[in-house]
C-alpha cells in the first residue's frame, strides 16, 4: 500500500539506470527487461534516485511543470504503483532526500505525463552476462528474442 510519506528508491540490487536528455532508461539486469520514461519521466527518476516520497514528488512536479496538483497526484500515484510492480523501485527505510526547489524563477515548463514503456525482447541477448551477486538462480524466460528462430 502506497502512502504519501512512504519512501521509495531505485531497486539497486537489480536495476541499472541513467537519464539522458530528459528520458529515464532502466534495465533489470536479472531478466533483461528494459524500460523508458519520457515526458516528465527523466525528472521523476532523478528525484527517485536519492530516495523520495509521493508527497515530495507531487510537490516537485507541480513546482516545475505547469500542471494541476490533482492531475499530477493521479499520474504519479499510478506511475509509482507500476514502478513498484515492475520492481524498478522498492520501499526504503532510509530517510528521503529533499528535492531542491527550482524556485519557479524561469516559469513552469509544459507538463507531459510520464508513462512506463516496458520492453521484454532483450532477455536472451543478455543471458551470457555475469549475474550480479544474489541473482544467479533467477531463470531467464526461455523466450527467444523477437526475430530469432530456434533450431
Amino acid at each position: 500500500m502506497l502512502s504519501p510519506d512512504s519512501v521509495i528508491r531505485p531497486n539497486e540490487a537489480e536495476i541499472a539506470s541513467k537519464v539522458v536528455d530528459g528520458e529515464a532508461i532502466m534495465i533489470n539486469l536479472s531478466d533483461g527487461r528494459y524500460y523508458s520514461m519520457q515526458g516528465a519521466g527523466g525528472f521523476i527518476w532523478t528525484c527517485i534516485t536519492s530516495g523520495t516520497t509521493l508527497k515530495q514528488l507531487i510537490g516537485a512536479l507541480t513546482e516545475r511543470y505547469d500542471a494541476e496538483s490533482l492531475v499530477v497526484e493521479r499520474d504519479i500515484t499510478g506511475l509509482v504503483s507500476v514502478l513498484l510492480e515492475e520492481a524498478l523501485v522498492v520501499h526504503s527505510d532510509l530517510p528521503p532526500v529533499e528535492i531542491p526547489s527550482t524556485g519557479g524563477a524561469t516559469g513552469r515548463a509544459p507538463y507531459e505525463a510520464a508513462h512506463l514503456e516496458v520492453y521484454t525482447e532483450m532477455g536472451e541477448l543478455l543471458a551470457l552476462d555475469p549475474p550480479l551477486p544474489g541473482l544467479e538462480d533467477i531463470p531467464w524466460s526461455g523466450e527467444e528474442p523477437a526475430g530469432v528462430k530456434q533450431k
Binding site: 541513467k18 534495465i27 541477448l125 552476462d129 530469432v148
Partner: protein, 229 residues
C-alpha cells in the same frame, strides 16, 4: 569461411582456443588472430602456429576494433569468431554451416554456451552449481557467431561500446530483420577466469548495456516515425 580471434594478453589459453579451431570437423579456410597489443607471451604462442594462422598486430584498441580489423582482412564468404580464452566443440562449424546450406535466407547462426571455471575458481563454480549460470545458456556473442560476410557489409561492424560490442551488434542485426538462428545445443565452452573482462568491469558493463538499450530505443522510434508517414 574465415575465423577471427581477437587476442589480448592471451598466452595462457590461446593455444587451447586455436587447437579447438584447427581440430574442427570442418576447419576454416583461414584463421586470423588479431594480437591487440599484447605485452605477454601471446606473440610467442602465435609463432608456434606459424603457417597455420594469419597474425595481425597493432596497438591495443579493444576487442571490438580488433574483431573489425579481422573482418577487414578476412576473405571468406562466412565469418566466425572465437574469444581467445574459449573453446569450440569439434563439430561446431560443421553444424552451423549445415544450417546455412539448409536455409539460404539465414544470415547469422549462434549456439548455446556452457561456462566452465578454472581450477583456481572452484569455489565460484561451486557457488553457481545447479543455478542458471552453470547451465546451458543462449550465446548471442562474439564467441559463437558465424555470419555471412555480407551481413557485416549491410549492418556494419562491431561498435566501440566496450564490454557490450557484440550485444549491440546483435540488436542492430535483429532490428534490421536479418535471419538469426540459435542451435539449441552447447557447442561453445566459455572459460571463466580472473581476467574475464565483463567480470572485472561490471559497472562499466551496466553502463555499456544502458547505451545499447538507448540506441535500440532511438532506432525503434525512428522506425515508428517512418511508419507513420
Amino acid at each position: 569461411m574465415s575465423c577471427i580471434v581477437p587476442a589480448y594478453n592471451a598466452e595462457l589459453y590461446l593455444p587451447f582456443a586455436l587447437d579447438s579451431i584447427l581440430s574442427q570437423t570442418l576447419p576454416p579456410y583461414e584463421l586470423i588472430v588479431v594480437d591487440d597489443g599484447s605485452t605477454d607471451g601471446t606473440a610467442g604462442v602465435l609463432e608456434s602456429y606459424q603457417g597455420r594462422v594469419t597474425v595481425l598486430t597493432g596497438p591495443n584498441q579493444g576487442s571490438g576494433p580488433a574483431r573489425n580489423r579481422g573482418i577487414a582482412a578476412a576473405s571468406g564468404d562466412f565469418l566466425s569468431f572465437l574469444d581467445a580464452d574459449d573453446l569450440w566443440l569439434p563439430t561446431k562449424l560443421e553444424r552451423q554451416m549445415a544450417r546455412f546450406a539448409a536455409r539460404p535466407e539465414l544470415g547469422v547462426s549462434v549456439t548455446m554456451v556452457r561456462n566452465f571455471w578454472i581450477p583456481e575458481l572452484a569455489y565460484e563454480a561451486e557457488r553457481h552449481a545447479g543455478k542458471r549460470f552453470a547451465g546451458p545458456l543462449p550465446g548471442y556473442g562474439g564467441t559463437t557467431l558465424l555470419a555471412r560476410a555480407d551481413v557485416f557489409a549491410t549492418i556494419g561492424d562491431f561498435s566501440t561500446i566496450t564490454f557490450a560490442e557484440d550485444t549491440e551488434w546483435f540488436t542492430r542485426v535483429i532490428d534490421a530483420g536479418v535471419e538469426v538462428e540459435m542451435i539449441d545445443e552447447v557447442l561453445v565452452l566459455r572459460r571463466i577466469h580472473q581476467g574475464n573482462q565483463s567480470f572485472v568491469h561490471s559497472d562499466q558493463l551496466s553502463g555499456a548495456l544502458l547505451e545499447v538499450v538507448r540506441r535500440r530505443l532511438v532506432r525503434k522510434r525512428f522506425a515508428a516515425g517512418l511508419n507513420q508517414q
